[in-house]
């Protein structure tokens, strides 16, 4: 009998031993938090992951084109009348409501990017394998990107929840994160992020920098722009000045405006920051549907293999803004002629009767024959120019004018006018600078925010501009877009809607 119990006992004991640690099975072929933490490359890879996020359509694709260009007086919805009428059509007519999916896309897209940035910051903080210089540079890059993401968010929605660390689902349910921080609070975060970036990033071409990574120049330019929105003229001026004078890296205007947005102009001497598509090795390394959604579209008699969906073509109001002889018009607007239009790469768009719209965005045009093309229409490799020297000149001009330095302002504006084939100006008004801004940066995803900013300085500007465009801008409402209704629901109603939506 004893023997029996001994054997039974032995079997059970062996099973118990087996169970010790036996259930600790690591995920196969997947990197979990623990594995990530022990890999010295993780922090760096997480930073790359944030840059990658910029290709996501929700950040810079169709919804972004909608709120920056189509909603503004620079562009029309375009395409066929019914296509995307509930989303882009509403934006074009400024009749959007909180259920328009564009806003939820932008909201979730930017918060996804911000979450990646927060994750990377946490990982960098705890990383022991990086040398101090690399670590601070990478931290600078992340702060730059997060600042830029919040800058877009605050301009689209006004104050938004301030998320500056990785949240657990339980934390996310707290009021602190469920409710909106004020726009001022968000700007504070943006400024501190960009200040950090400015202090820690290498200048273009300096050790540690690389084409595509955020640089000291990019941080200075972006912060200058933020200061313009905060009406801190002194700081805006000095930051812009540091860029123009080469203190934060070598920048100069290119001679041919038309090439800026082509592949040939990628990362040119004028570029402070742009979204890279590189060699597009994997054929999907580009902002989702960016070029395709804005490409010329067949209509009427059709009969040609078209290049896209035809959204966001330049408006008549924009065309009217150009002075005669301004070379920038032809570089910005594809005008569909009655008998066909030959583009810079010799592609011929047929006559107007076979095309859906009158005008298309030339800056978004991608040449299938003379630029990299591997067949993926939805991810055509087009670098998005987020910030370039011309804009810094205009920031410099506006800040200078506000500080009473009219001479510097005129010099900045003249530099751009001369390149555009126009005569320089001995002196400029604020309106001259704003006009120059509109034509220089047309279709570059800035106009809607810019109009709202100008309207803050000169009330009535937005209403007048939109009335020329045939639309109604409602003061006290249209300065920001509605908070997505879906997100208000998720917050159990704690997120407050913007006024009059």
């Amino acid at each position: 009998m004893k023997k029996i119990f001994a054997i039974t006992g032995a079997v059970f004991m062996s099973a118990l031993f087996a169970c010790n640690n036996y259930l600790d099975v690591k995920p196969q072929g997947q990197i979990d938090e623990e594995a990530a933490a022990s890999d010295p490359a993780t922090a760096q890879n997480l930073v790359t992951g944030i840059y990658n996020n910029m290709w996501v359509g929700k950040l810079h694709g169709f919804p972004f084109i909608g709120v920056t260009n189509i909603a503004s007086d620079d562009a029309d919805k375009g395409s066929s009348p019914d296509d995307a009428a509930p989303t882009q059509g509403q934006l074009d007519n400024l009749t959007m409501d909180a259920n328009n999916s564009t806003f939820n896309d932008l909201w979730s897209g930017y918060y996804q990017a911000i979450a990646r940035a927060n994750k990377a910051l946490g990982s960098l903080e705890s990383s022991t394998s990086l040398d101090a210089a690399t670590k601070s540079r990478l931290q600078g890059e992340v702060h730059f990107l997060r600042g830029y993401f919040y800058f877009n968010l605050v301009r689209i929605f006004g104050g938004v929840p301030k998320i500056d660390k990785v949240l657990t689902p339980a934390e996310a349910a707290q009021d602190q994160y469920q409710t909106r921080a004020s726009a001022d609070d968000i700007y504070q975060l943006i400024i501190s992020d960009l200040e950090f970036a400015l202090a820690n990033l290498p200048a273009k071409g300096a050790s540690g920098s690389a084409v595509g990574r955020a640089t000291k120049g990019a941080a200075a330019g972006m912060l200058a722009k933020v200061m313009l929105y905060r009406r801190n003229w002194q700081r805006a001026f000095s930051l812009a000045d540091s860029v123009i004078t080469g203190k934060v890296g070598p920048y100069s205007l290119v001679t041919d405006y038309a090439t800026i947005w082509r592949q040939a102009g990628a990362n040119n001497s004028e570029s402070l920051f742009e979204i890279q598509t590189g060699t597009n090795a994997t054929c999907d390394a580009a902002v989702e549907v960016y070029s395709n959604s804005q490409g010329p579209r067949a209509g009427g008699k059709r009969g040609w293999a078209d290049l896209g969906w035809g959204f966001g073509g330049p408006s008549q109001s924009l065309v009217n803004e150009y002075e005669p002889g301004d070379k920038r018009l032809a570089a910005t607007v594809i005008t569909v002629g009655p008998t066909g239009t030959i583009l810079w790469d010799n592609f011929r768009i047929p006559g107007r009767d076979s095309v859906e719209n009158d005008r298309y965005n030339y800056k978004a045009y991608h040449s299938r024959t003379m630029e990299q093309f591997c067949g993926n229409q939805d991810r055509l490799p087009k670098n998005l120019r987020i910030l370039r020297l011309a804009e810094v000149l205009l920031i410099h001009a506006e800040a200078a004018l506000a500080l009473g330095n009219g001479g510097a302002a005129a010099a900045d504006v003249s530099a751009l006018r001369v390149r555009a084939g126009l005569a320089g100006k001995p002196s400029v008004t604020l309106q001259d600078i704003w006009h120059e801004r509109r034509v220089e940066l047309a279709m570059e995803h800035d106009r809607y925010f810019e109009l709202v900013r100008e309207n803050g300085l000169a009330p009535g500007t937005a209403v007048a501009a939109f009335s020329k465009h045939g639309k109604t801008f409602v003061v006290g409402k249209h300065e920001v877009f509605p908070i997505p209704f879906t997100q208000i629901q998720f917050s159990q109603g704690k997120l407050q809607q913007n006024p009059n939506y």
Binding site: N45, L46, A115, A210
Partner: protein, 1031 residues
């Protein structure tokens, strides 16, 4: 373990030696012993009783008069007389003795025999749970691949939904659908191996299939919530060697096809649907008059051969079998072959030690076709386009229609192979009569190989009769998937079994350790040469569109089981079990799954002694908790998204993101089940049956919950344990059997099950949408208070007959779309009363889950003939005619019946609209009755008479004719009322393997989209001829 392995090896050798000894033992000769065997109660001679000489494999069986003759190896010995359903007897006899009269008594304890209950067996009469048992011979009789198909209609409470495709398993629902995201199919236990796939098991090898329907399944703990099906394979019986051959051959055809519009009907429809299309003006190109079903479908050959050798002695028994199935699909080129081999051995090393093994190997191989595409395109292909002429194909896509399905079939070669080695080796030790210790090692090794080759062809006039269209494959493409799975389970159990006076106690305790690992390597390249011998990835273009995936999965479990069964006087029964499951799949490692059951055998009571009605009557009740951990391994761990590229200095750098928000406390779903039932037999055991009521509540069910975007999760959802479901039901099964005379006996059986399924609480989770049908979007909705996957559509109120009706219809008084509505269009009910018809007017209109399903069967034996018929049906459910609703183009073909009935200005119709276009919303117009009754199997057999057999030296020779799915009565106008859902190639598609490996938790296939006939594989009808021989 190393000790066990050595012992096993030694035992194998010993086993082989014993076979040789046993054969030698037959050689000696003595005077024969003669006698008869009779029923102790009736005095009738018993035929076919086994009479075996103890200690040898020698023996015989009784003849038609109950007589037998055996020769002892020595001067005296013991004969053992055994017969199914009777208590065995042994008798000491001397050589030359005659007139040995043996009277066998019926085994009163063996009502329905023995059932397998998990880590042991129990007498059916002692069981306190709802366990149904199906005998192997009832399964093997039908010409089907898997045993579950053959089980359809035979077990109350078990719904089997078949598809007609070769090499697929049916969907099985034991007592309703208890999960939407965790998988709803039962666990299979094949000789101790836990699996979800039994396509490797030869039906002829199965001795019994036991279904644990209620909480008694809790012995399998965290995997038992959907029920457990235990499959036991045959073993040899001590006695004379038996050689059996069972063969069957026949053909399959589509059981029912929908009649499509012919050329003229189609042209008539086009005049309204696509006025710009006129095939007559293009007669040269489109002069066809095609029935695409005739062109693509065929009568498919099918056959099944099994050979087995079994026998043994007191020391050693063996069962070897080999099986071959060839099962061709009814779509051209679709075929499947499976070879199986089995070796089951039992070796008594000594009185106390026993070694057993059950091993099987199977290899399946077949040509798959993309049935989802092919069936969709056959249904839609325009009848005006010819299939093929002089080697060139009709160009359906140039006509503005779907791809030519014949060309699709011809330009794709999809080889699938699956090899599987499965089995166990167990060592048993009986230190005392009342104690058994058993250690079993079970393994399941699997290798898969899929090879898809798409031939290159262009839309030019070399391929097509007319150039153009978009059906083309610019580059040839080869895709290869090599996969491997290995699972093992080590069971250690101790079973205590003892009687003390009227008390009987059985106690089981054990531990179960389990491991699983799988991996695959999937690659593809383009421009691989077209010769079959060159189909290797090396020969493809390494630079363009070259893909390579390699993923894996691994998990482990450690469990402890305990069960105690107590009975007093065979009258009061009590049993309880608990299983503790530790799983690597969750952060919360341990789950505990208890069950308790009681039974009361009323016929054992004094007050029942005098009644004549019942021979046996038992009341039983059980309660218990079961788990469902059918959840991907890493569903609770945050893992990185890798290979997120970006360009720095124009060169590519791969980034990562840790961005998924997951419920780190995700765990198994829990089902609490309560069951009460009666088991009875009466009228001298001619009528027997069972009644059951159950109540099954699933809590902590997985559900998708939306989360705020501030968490940064890419799809703003996460999966958590929040929802609950309820299934309540009632089951009845009755069997009647009677022997009218020596020549004529019959049996009739039937069962019916009623089930009510309801989502009781989504607890903040989102209503789950499923069953996408083209532009109609999702058809089913799983929401509070409704059955899982209820159809959620507009209510159609018939057809507008005139413009006046449209103008005055209050349902559309504010509808901005009103101007587009014309007479002949469908009218819908404005459910929310806003005068606009849109998605918010959708309503719940029933689901595919049947309110009841039933099966009945009939068996007759008259002299040498036997006849059997099986029927199956279900009712109270709905089907969505998705294929009719899903229009790709207006040029898609239509059903002849619709064309004959649709509304036309000169031929008004109250039921069918003038056109079915892609923008017709989902509505009750497409919802049809799911009721059906089918004759599953009809078999007529003829047995050679005893005398003839003797002369030929055979023990059995039977020939038979069989028909599977002979006819179906249904109101549904489609192909088949059996719509398991899921992508049709679900179980074995490459994509599924990729999805599984990416740990998507949307394990909803077949749950949320069952009952939608989108491109269903028509159920097939089989006619076959077969033969059973043994000697």
């Amino acid at each position: 373990m190393s000790i066990t392995v050595t012992k096993i090896r030694g035992a194998w050798l010993a086993g082989m030696m014993l076979v040789i000894f046993a054969a030698n033992a037959l050689a000696q000769q003595t005077d024969p012993v003669k006698g008869t065997v009779k029923d102790s109660a009736t005095g009738e001679a018993l035929i076919g009783v086994t009479v075996r000489i103890q200690g040898t494999s020698a023996g015989t069986t009784t003849g038609p008069d109950g007589s037998f003759t055996v020769r002892l190896p020595g001067e005296s010995g013991t004969i053992v007389v055994s017969y199914l359903g009777y208590v065995s007897q042994s008798r000491v006899v001397n050589a030359g003795q005659s007139g040995v009269n043996i009277q066998l008594a019926k085994d009163q304890n063996q009502l329905g025999g023995v059932v397998v209950v998990g880590y042991g067996t129990q007498r059916k009469r002692d069981v306190t749970g709802a366990i149904a048992s199906v005998k192997g011979e009832d399964l093997a009789r039908q010409p089907v691949l898997t045993a579950t198909q053959a089980m359809q209609g035979k077990v109350a409470g078990v719904q089997i939904i078949n598809s007609g495709q070769p090499n697929t398993q049916p969907q099985v629902r034991v007592r309703g659908t208890g999960s939407v995201m965790g998988g709803a199919n039962p666990l299979y236990v094949v000789d101790g191996v836990l699996t979800d796939d039994i396509r490797n098991i030869n039906n002829a090898d199965i001795v019994s299939m036991d279904v644990l329907k209620d909480a008694s399944a809790a012995i399998y703990g965290v995997r038992a919530a959907n029920g457990v099906v235990i499959i036991t394979t045959r073993k040899g019986k001590a006695g004379k060697m038996e050689i059996r051959y069972d063969g069957q051959a026949g053909f399959r055809e589509a059981a029912h096809l929908v009649k499509m519009a012919d050329r003229n009907q189609y042209i008539d429809y086009l005049r309204d649907a696509a006025p710009s299309k006129d095939p007559n003006t293009d007669a040269a190109a489109y002069g066809g008059s095609t029935n695409w079903y005739d062109a693509l479908l065929r009568k498919a050959f099918q056959m099944n051969h099994n050979v087995s050798v079994s026998g043994g002695s007191d020391k050693y028994t063996y069962y070897y079998s080999a099986g071959y199935i060839e099962d061709n699909g009814i779509v051209r080129t679709n075929d499947f072959r499976r070879f199986t081999f089995r070796a089951n051995n039992d070796l008594n090393i000594s009185e106390k030690w026993k070694l057993t093994s059950q091993l099987s190997y199977s290899r399946g191989s077949g040509q798959n076709v993309s049935l989802f595409d092919i069936y969709g395109n056959i249904y839609r292909a325009a009848p005006v386009v010819p299939v093929q002429e002089g080697g060139r194909y009709g160009n359906t896509s140039a006509w503005g229609n779907v791809a030519n399905p014949m060309l699709q079939v011809d330009k794709r070669n999809y080889l699938q192979q699956d090899s599987r080695l499965q089995g166990n080796i167990a060592l048993e030790y009986n230190p005392a009569k009342w104690l058994k210790l058993r250690s079993a090692f079970n393994a399941d090794l699997r290798w898969g190989y899929d090879r898809v080759y798409n031939y290159q062809f262009l839309n030019d006039d070399k391929t097509f009769l007319v150039a153009g269209g978009n059906q083309r494959q610019d580059n040839s493409k080869l895709q290869i998937n090599d996969s491997r799975q290995q699972g093992w389970v080590w069971d250690n159990t101790a079973t205590f079994d003892h009687s003390f006076g009227k008390h009987h106690l059985t106690v089981l305790a054990g531990s179960v350790t389990e491991g699983f690992y799988s991996t695959f390597l999937l690659g593809s390249r383009i421009n691989v040469p077209a010769q079959k011998d060159l189909w290797y990835l090396d020969l493809g273009d390494p630079n363009v569109q070259s893909t390579l995936y390699n993923r894996g999965d691994k998990y482990a479990r450690q469990s402890f089981v305990g069960r105690a069964s107590y009975s007093y006087d065979d009258r009061y029964l009590l049993s309880a079990s608990i299983r503790a499951d530790g799983s690597s799949k969750f952060k919360e490692r341990w789950g505990y799954f208890p069950t308790v059951g009681i039974g009361w055998v009323m016929t054992q009571e004094g007050f029942m002694k005098d009644q004549q009605l019942f021979d046996f009557l038992k009341f039983r009740a059980s309660w218990g908790q079961l788990g469902n951990d059918n959840i991907p391994t890493n569903a609770y761990i945050n893992t990185a998204t890798v290979n997120l590229p970006y360009f720095f200095d124009n060169s590519i750098t791969q980034g990562i993101a840790l961005q998924d928000t997951k419920d780190n406390n995700l765990k198994w779903e829990t089902t609490t089940q309560f069951d009460v039932g009666f088991e009875f037999s009466l009228l001298d055991e001619r009528l027997s049956g069972e009644l059951d009521y159950y109540n099954k509540k699933t809590s902590d069910a997985l559900i998708v919950v939306n989360i705020p975007s501030i968490l940064g999760d890419p799809d703003n959802t996460y999966i958590t344990n929040a929802a609950s479901f309820k299934n309540t039901g009632f089951e009845v099964s009755l069997n009647w059997k009677d022997d009218i005379s020596k020549d004529f006996s019959y049996n009739v059986g039937g069962n019916i099950s009623f089930n009510k399924n309801e989502v009781t609480n989504l607890a903040g989770g989102q209503a789950l949408l499923g069953g996408g049908v083209g532009q109609q979007s999702y058809i089913t909705r799983t929401d509070n208070g409704q059955p899982v996957a209820s159809f959620y559509v507009l209510e159609s109120l018939g057809v507008y007959q005139s413009q006046d009706e449209i103008n005055s219809d209050p349902n559309i008084k504010n509808d901005p779309n009103k101007g587009n509505i014309r007479p002949g269009d469908l009218r819908y009910k404005d459910f929310n009363g806003d005068g606009i018809i849109n998605a918010s007017d959708r309503q719940f209109v029933g689901s595919y889950q049947p309110k009841y399903f039933y099966g009945f069967n009939l068996g007759l034996k008259y002299k040498s003939f036997d006849f059997s018929a099986d029927f199956y049906g279900s009712g109270g459910n709905k089907i969505y005619n998705g294929k009719k609703a899903y229009r790709f183009e207006n040029t898609d073909n239509i059903e002849a019946d619709y064309e004959n009935n649709r509304w036309k200005p000169d031929r008004p119709s109250a039921t069918d609209p003038r056109l079915i276009t892609s923008n017709l919303p989902a509505s009750t117009y497409f919802v049809e009755s799911g009721n059906f009754l089918r004759c599953n199997n009809l078999t007529i057999g003829y047995n050679l008479p005893e005398q003839t057999l003797k002369r030929m030296g055979l023990t059995r020779f039977r020939v038979y004719l069989t028909a599977q799915n002979l006819f179906t009565l249904m109101r549904f106008t489609g192909f088949s009322p059996e719509l398991p859902g899921g992508t049709i190639d679900y179980d074995n598609s490459i994509n599924n393997r990729v999805n599984t490996a990416t740990n998507s938790t949307n394990n909803t296939s077949g749950i949320l989209d069952a009952g939608i006939e989108l491109n269903a594989y028509p159920i097939t009808r089989t006619f076959g001829f077969g033969v059973n021989v043994s000697f």
